[in-house]
């Protein structure tokens, strides 16, 4: 019976904590030029990622979470304006040339997308697509590349890998395709892996397989990971640290245990309380965050984007965005009135 204990502690190793950041994003802003003006999708987002660390970016639609990943990867639309700094292993990715980016992408930085069907080439066999990465980035011969690709498919536990190398993407199930994507991303042993909703399209049973696999491979190779997701359960199970985005801005940044134990930002607090839980018995009703998520707009608002839905709002919230301040060693929050640290699990309130 495949009883599996989910993997060990989050990165608590002192040595790791002291390590310099592999990725440092500073004041990242992404806007899109439209005939009507500039729409701001991401605004002044900053974070660090240490080697071997898994960070989750959580947010609802329009929070800018995917745009952060695309900006790191340099995959921006033509009408995008990106400002700030993205330092990766000593280079500023935003000032890198196209050729410089091409050397990095696929080799040092790899990405997994939500829908593996649209990110694999339907015309080429799996084996060829995998080998191409190695031929291009590592200059391997065709034979060696095929051998390495086969070994990688074994590593992501694709049964009967030899036969599957000869299949086309449409001949594989969703879970298998996502394994192929992971295999492809890990082929060149990247130092940074970006995953945009990697399991959202999959069934829970397959999601459990894929997350477990990703964790295992990443821990083995010391790769740093950024996972973008809207599922707080996925965050709790896989991440070391969490970045909570709303309306393109950072609401809260915290270690995973801290975030779930003592969410400080009213938005994080509300999200956790609004979530139905498997463990709890049915409550009177779920707590709700009033209103709807804010869509990125043309108008720059001076205050906190969450203010219109926030029950702890004061006048100042609408006038000026609060700065990010540290509440604890592993928790920073952008709020004038964060929940106090001792408040444990969010209280349930009926509306």
């Amino acid at each position: 019976m495949p009883l599996i204990q989910t993997s060990g502690d989050p990165v608590s190793d002192e040595r790791l904590k002291a390590a310099p950041a592999l990725l440092r994003v500073t004041e990242l802003a992404v806007g899109f030029r439209l005939p009507q003006g500039v729409v701001r999708a991401v605004d002044r987002v900053s974070f660090d990622l240490k080697p071997g660390e898994i960070m989750g970016i959580v947010g609802e639609s329009g929070s800018g979470k995917s745009q952060v990943l695309l900006a790191i990867m340099g995959l921006m639309a033509r009408n995008a304006e990106v400002t700030g700094r993205i330092d990766f292993a000593g280079q500023d990715l935003l000032s890198l040339s196209r050729a410089g980016l091409d050397r990095l992408r696929g080799a040092d930085v790899a990405m997994i997308f939500q829908d593996p069907m649209t990110s694999l080439n339907p015309y080429h066999r799996i084996g060829r697509q995998l080998a191409e990465v190695l031929i291009k980035h590592k200059g391997m011969s065709k034979d060696n590349a095929h051998r390495a690709a086969l070994a990688m498919l074994d590593r992501v536990r694709i049964p009967d890998a030899k036969r599957r190398m000869r299949l086309y993407p449409h001949e594989l199930s969703g879970g298998m395709r996502q394994r192929v994507m992971i295999a492809m991303a890990l082929l060149c042993e990247p130092r940074l892996l970006l995953a945009d909703e990697p399991t959202t399209a999959l069934d829970v049973t397959v999601q459990a397989q894929i997350l477990h696999l990703m964790q295992e491979l990443v821990r083995e190779s010391g790769t740093s990971v950024v996972i973008v997701t809207h599922d707080l359960g996925v965050v709790a199970e896989t991440c070391d640290r969490v970045l909570v985005l709303y309306g393109g801005r950072v609401m809260e940044r915290a270690g995973v245990d801290r975030l779930f134990e003592a969410p400080a930002h009213p938005y994080t607090h509300g999200l956790l309380a609004a979530m139905p839980r498997l463990s709890a018995t049915r409550l009177q009703s779920l707590m709700v965050i009033p209103g709807a998520p804010r869509a990125a707009g043309l108008k720059l608002i001076p205050g906190c984007p969450f203010a219109p839905r926030c029950e702890r709002r004061i006048e100042r919230c609408v006038e000026a965005m609060p700065a990010i301040e540290a509440l604890a060693a592993d928790q920073q929050v952008a709020c004038y009135r964060p929940y106090a640290a001792q408040s444990n699990q969010p209280k349930v309130r009926t509306i």
């Binding site: 019976m1 495949p2 009883l3 599996i4 204990q5 989910t6 993997s7 060990g8 502690d9 989050p10 609802e60 639609s61 049964p159 199930s173 969703g174 879970g175 298998m176 069934d203 829970v204 049973t205 397959v206 999601q207 459990a208 397989q209 997350l211 477990h212 809207h230 599922d231 707080l232 359960g233 996925v234 965050v235 709790a236 199970e237 995973v256 245990d257 779930f260 509300g270 999200l271 956790l272 609004a274 979530m275 139905p276 839980r277 498997l278 463990s279 018995t281 049915r282 009177q284 009703s285 779920l286 707590m287 709700v288 965050i289 709807a292 998520p293 839905r309 509306i351």
Partner: protein, 361 residues
Amino acid sequence: MSGPAVHEKSMPVLSVKDLKVHFPARAGMGWLRSPLTVKAVDGVSFDLMPGEILGVIGESGCGKSTLGRAILKLIPASHGEILWSGRDVTNLPEAAIRAGRQAMQIIFQDPLASLDPRMTVGQIIGQPLKTFEPGMKRSDLEQRVTATMRQVGLNPSMFNRYPHEFSGGQCQRIGIARAIITRPRLIVCDEPVSALDMSIQSHIINLLLRLRDELGMALIFISHNMSVVQHISDRILVLYLGREMEIADRDALFAAPLHPYSKALLSAVPIPDPKLSRQRARVILEGDTPSPITPPSGCVFRTRCPIAIDRCAEHVPALSSYGPRQRAACHRIGEAVASSLADGVGSANRPGRGPEPSALS
């Protein structure tokens, strides 16, 4: 909110008996092509009492949506019986059941796609009334529509707006208003919150629970999201490849799932609590769901089952009762229960009221 308003003596809103929905499929090439069938739903039975919420869970392709549509006779059943409030509608022509349709409604997954973009919100919500009560005065109809809008939390001043002007959560409220305006006895909710943002999901779940309490209709709540299903349901049906694996009261299922598939499915759900999730041991299923065109022999789950034995490949396990309101289809449940009792685990399986198969095949 006080439990389900289930009256033991009242007649079920819906009875489904050995329901099968098979679709023709083709495989092979040229003249070697042979007609095959996809057994989307294959022998499902249950009763649904007024005011009860039945959650239907399972992986993609397990037949949950097909079941929901077959119940409403939106697709024909291949075998079995469907009774609406005691009336057998399985083989009745559309004209004969048309009037009964106002008691049976549906809410869809994609809130915007299920609303006609050229109709105003008032027209959309009022349409079922126009259909079923054609003689109704216009002023009465408008009154019913605005009252229903208020009931689902929509501002009646939006009566003349179009669907594209609304957010996903509001569109879902419009869909719900359209479903409840005829005062149905049953609503099939097919993944009603899956397309919504997480801070909006709780709005809709709370709304559905409140409407159930106010109006007393039964719900069939189809979802792949286990925690949502657990929160809303009174009873839960677990489907795998069109077959009923287990059906049980919500608390019984989540406290002590009997079928190995139910166990695996529940343990695969990520828990939003990092400490707890690090402690728990999980059953991670290998592989993917087999094709419903060529399902495994015997128990359909056996190819992924961690405790399958030879017998599972030979005989289809019958759905047997374990306790008053828990049924499961597995050859090995008796043994599993015995061993868990021996280990002193399985708090819900106390001796005395412990599961005893009453209809072992």
